[in-house]
């Protein structure tokens, strides 16, 4: 129930029935997700700051699209995305996932074909030994790409129906205009033996906070007046969704946190928010006891926006029971050294709390994979998980 007693789930017209376990364990379902969800969606793969100069590029392996991509800023400043595949015999052109750098051209290490940053084939060693080559037809194979509020999106479908702007749709006012210029302060990754939706579900509800985080941060998000960490508000859109998390204004800080708060008027996911922003998207319902907003960009990116920081968390499907989880924390640059001590507090807490979150995911997958249980029940507080399921399932059936 909402704090005022009305159900989110009913008010968004979602079902209240149990949901099947099949989407978490079925290989067939996973293949349908590949074809009908991921190959037809704008997928966020990074930030424009990651490739700020002409020639800057990064490689991202996208097993869910069965490809690896190069995202590169051209000499003209434009950002483009290509399949990381040489047009001669298909070798990977620029290394594998995680590779990044600055180049003036891409040269294949196999036979030396060279491509300009806009994908044009510029040079073939011993070209005259080929037969009837039309170099202009041997450009690197592009994916549609665009950026929005500094987030870089790619789309693998050959007929992209919507622009990124249209894709973001109703989510725009919640995110647009946020100061995304904060530098990267922490970047963590792990490969999990579980379905990608188990990861995503775990970061789009606050129901787990009281039990799973009982030692660490439960007291920041639950109290007598809100004993089960109920959300302050929720928004379910065509595909994306957003929920706001209640913060306990009377949380008693531990000594390290008191120090951190004294040293810097910056906030963290685990401290009551200062909420002095003018950004209209933050705390959309202007709740007094607001901690932060969780936005989920369909299908697999979660963004937490707060005062002076933001977090991005990706669940990248690899196989039905394998997911690459990646989290990036960005924080306002410290004006003075003591502010960086506060940031260190944030980073340490985030990391330890995430270890708690990660603990349940593989165990959940292991049990569900047994097939013994066929249905799950989502509470009203897990409305985002249910919405996620319904949107995906409709795409798969549609």
């Amino acid at each position: 129930m909402k704090l005022n007693g009305k159900s989110f789930t009913h008010s968004f017209g979602l079902s209240t029935a149990p949901v099947p376990v099949e989407p978490y364990i079925s290989k067939d379902y996973f293949e349908l997700e590949r074809e009908r969800v991921f190959k037809r969606s704008w997928l966020c793969v990074g930030r424009v700051e990651d490739i700020s100069q002409p020639g800057d590029y990064f490689v991202r392996d996208l097993p869910i699209l069965r490809t690896s991509i190069i995202v590169v800023r051209g000499q003209d400043g434009a950002i483009r995305a290509f399949h990381n595949m040489c047009q001669h015999r298909g070798n990977k052109l620029a290394g594998t996932g995680g590779t990044h750098g600055n180049v003036s051209a891409f040269t294949c290490c196999f036979h030396g074909w060279r491509y300009d940053l806009d994908g044009k084939l510029a040079y073939i060693p011993d070209e005259q030994s080929f037969f009837d080559l039309d170099k202009s037809k041997l450009k690197l194979m592009p994916l549609a790409s665009d950026s929005w509020e500094g987030f870089i999106f790619v789309n693998a479908s050959l007929t992209v129906g919507e622009t990124v702007d249209q894709w973001i749709g109703e989510m725009a006012p919640l995110v647009k205009g946020f100061d995304f210029s904060f530098p990267l302060a922490g970047h963590y990754r792990t490969d999990l033996r579980c379905n990608w939706k188990i990861v995503l579900d775990s970061v789009q509800e606050a129901y787990h906070v009281v039990a799973l985080h009982r030692r660490t941060v439960a007291s920041a998000f639950a109290a007598k007046e809100n004993p089960f960490a109920h959300l302050t508000s929720a928004r379910m859109f065509k595909r994306h969704r957003s929920v706001s998390v209640w913060g306990n204004p009377k949380v008693k800080p531990r000594p390290s946190e008191s120090l951190a708060l004294k040293l810097a008027r910056l906030s963290s996911p685990y401290t009551p928010s200062i909420n002095q922003t003018n950004h209209p998207g933050l705390n959309p319902e202007q709740d007094n006891n607001w901690a932060f907003d969780i936005h989920v960009l369909f299908p697999n990116l979660q963004i937490i926006l707060g005062e002076g920081y933001y977090l991005t968390q990706w669940a990248w499907p690899v196989a039905v029971d394998q997911t690459r989880y990646e989290v990036k924390m960005y924080m306002k640059p410290p004006a003075v050294p003591s502010e960086s001590i506060m940031q260190e507090f944030n980073k340490v807490m985030l990391y330890d709390v995430l270890l708690e979150d990660l603990f349940t995911l593989e165990n959940t997958q292991a049990s569900l994979s047994s097939g013994v249980k066929t249905e799950l029940n989502f509470s009203d507080q897990e409305v985002a998980c249910r919405h996620s399921y319904e949107v995906i399932d409709a795409m798969i059936r549609g």
Binding site: Y188, R254, P337, F345, Y351, L355, L358, F359
Partner: protein
């Protein structure tokens, strides 16, 4: 990240009494975490108890320098405060170096690019 591991490992004179803890002054979050997780609780508690009452004095001292123009000895002192934050959950929450019951292996949850 920088060369503070080599060269001078002396804290600023004002904080010479913390010199015995200088091996906690590690430049990356990952190194500080490993130090926490490979130390005993008595070691962690001793370090925590020594730094806690000095934190505000340290912060005032550090703030005389711009963030990116700190001399090496001040940088070591800054890393000591980061290490304090790294061990704080062990002392204040878990009563052991690791995250209690969270059996997810920290060695699998890695920093990218450190």
């Amino acid at each position: 990240m920088d060369d503070s591991k080599q060269g001078n490992r002396e804290l600023p004179a004002d904080f010479a009494q913390l010199g015995k803890f200088v091996n906690w002054a590690l430049p990356t979050q990952g190194e500080r975490r490993v130090k926490r997780l490979t130390s005993t609780m008595p070691e962690i508690e001793e370090f925590y108890a020594a730094i806690l009452p000095e934190m505000e004095r340290i912060a005032t001292y550090l703030d005389q320098y711009p963030m990116h123009e700190m001399p090496d000895d001040a940088k070591l002192l800054l890393y000591l405060t980061y290490a304090f934050m790294a061990v704080a959950p062990a002392v204040e929450i878990f009563n052991e170096p690791s995250v209690t019951d969270a059996a997810f292996d920290y060695r699998r949850f890695v920093e990218v690019g450190e």
